[in-house]
Symmetry: C2
Subunit: 297 residues, 2 copies
Amino acid sequence: MKILQCVPNFSEGRDPNFLKELEAALKQFQVKILDLSMDPDHNRTVATFLGPPDAVEAAAMAVTSRAVELIDMRHHTGRHPRIGAVDVVPFVPIRGMTMGEAVEIARRFGEVFAEKHQIPVFYYEEACTAESRRNLADVRKGEYEGMPQKLRDPAWTVDAGPQAFNEKSGVTVVGARMPLIAFNVNLHTNDLDLAKKIANAVRHSGGGLRYVKAMGVRLDDKGIVQVSMNLVNYQKTPIHRAVELIKAEAARYGVLVRECELIGTVPLEALEEVVSYYLQIPDFNAKRIIEYHLLPD
Amino acid sequence: MKILQCVPNFSEGRDPNFLKELEAALKQFQVKILDLSMDPDHNRTVATFLGPPDAVEAAAMAVTSRAVELIDMRHHTGRHPRIGAVDVVPFVPIRGMTMGEAVEIARRFGEVFAEKHQIPVFYYEEACTAESRRNLADVRKGEYEGMPQKLRDPAWTVDAGPQAFNEKSGVTVVGARMPLIAFNVNLHTNDLDLAKKIANAVRHSGGGLRYVKAMGVRLDDKGIVQVSMNLVNYQKTPIHRAVELIKAEAARYGVLVRECELIGTVPLEALEEVVSYYLQIPDFNAKRIIEYHLLPD
């Protein structure tokens, strides 16, 4: 059985009615909603749902189309970078699917969405049409406010839709990627510089692990600091390696890990390595889990 | 959806055709075979299968009835303790079922099996009718050869079937229990006394953890020793606690863990604690795993 996940991000995070509208749009289809959460500081909503590819593609079109109707970017402010009402639409192959199939769906979705709403669309990550568009941060650079100018740059010819700015809806980024794991390590200290040093040591851009993005942040309510990570390829840079490296770097300052936080969900495959490493079971895999045998074939 | 597991143990482990007969018997029903393995030293076969309770009960009756036909205990020798052709039949509630439901099925199965084949049956573990019959080792004491005498003891009135020894088939023990986890810790030493001391320290009977059974054994082929454990209640004595205690005891001799072995399968719930402990995620649970949401409701 093929299972696809979709995790669209919307530039509206304050109106509770918006969540209800998204939920109603998704519930018309045979998809399972894993998460639907709104952040008022970021003024942003993230929906996570999965199911058979056809149902997910149709549900993605319905939910993003409803968001296009409801959001007017001309009034949008928030702390999180964004370029459009439907800011980014990643498709994630979960089970029985190749990345190539997810890319095909992403591009087809992008084309239909762009034409239907006359919104410029860029493809990113595995669906990108040029390496310069692989990274979401690069595509989003300039944000909503900078898009009129970016769309006049010949380097930023759209992948689908009009080469013209849509004032109400901005620009949308569509793509396919592996599941990413958002994982935070909370330290027993309130020293933000220390968290930043450790984040720099562990992340790829600072000379650290290839598939780790990390930053040091302060948690005001807890009076401590955190190394906040995105693990963008858990197969090649598994969770335990990033966590153990953070522990090793924290130890040079005499600091221990207070606790960790997993944000959202994690693929079962990523936990195979966690169990194998910490319990020292070299050949551990998901087939050793009873419930694995209850999953649809 | 209700899912029941059954793990019958048979006193035949040398004839490859026997395995095929068991498989054929099971395949008539809507059950999933997780494991079917034969041990010639023990002269014993263990089948592990699961599915909806009705199908599992019917498959259990078919597979055990076939084994009764094929096995003659008068010729059986092997290293593993045993009292009958169908030695022990545990039913294990996996999903959407209470232990009470599994007990009910075990007793009904035991009654029908005993009458059908005229084999004395005792109930054990959660299905036991007296505390003195809870422990499999106590019920099995005396083994096949001692059963004629045991059946004359008023303390061992059968729970089902005739109060008379069945020479060809022996006695069968039927029950319901939690999933047990067979977990071995291999040590970087060939000192068997040391493995025995550590096993004694970690197990309940030696003053150790409440739900751990353990013994020290030599692994001739690897030239090392092992602490071999049965974790009989992973909810109250989780895997990591037993493993970390073994590490702590081994450290007093300057010995490290070489690797661990998980025998058979493990319930997903038992891994929640493993991930929570080692990754220090206090609230980790299976709902955080994407595939959990693909399991049948």
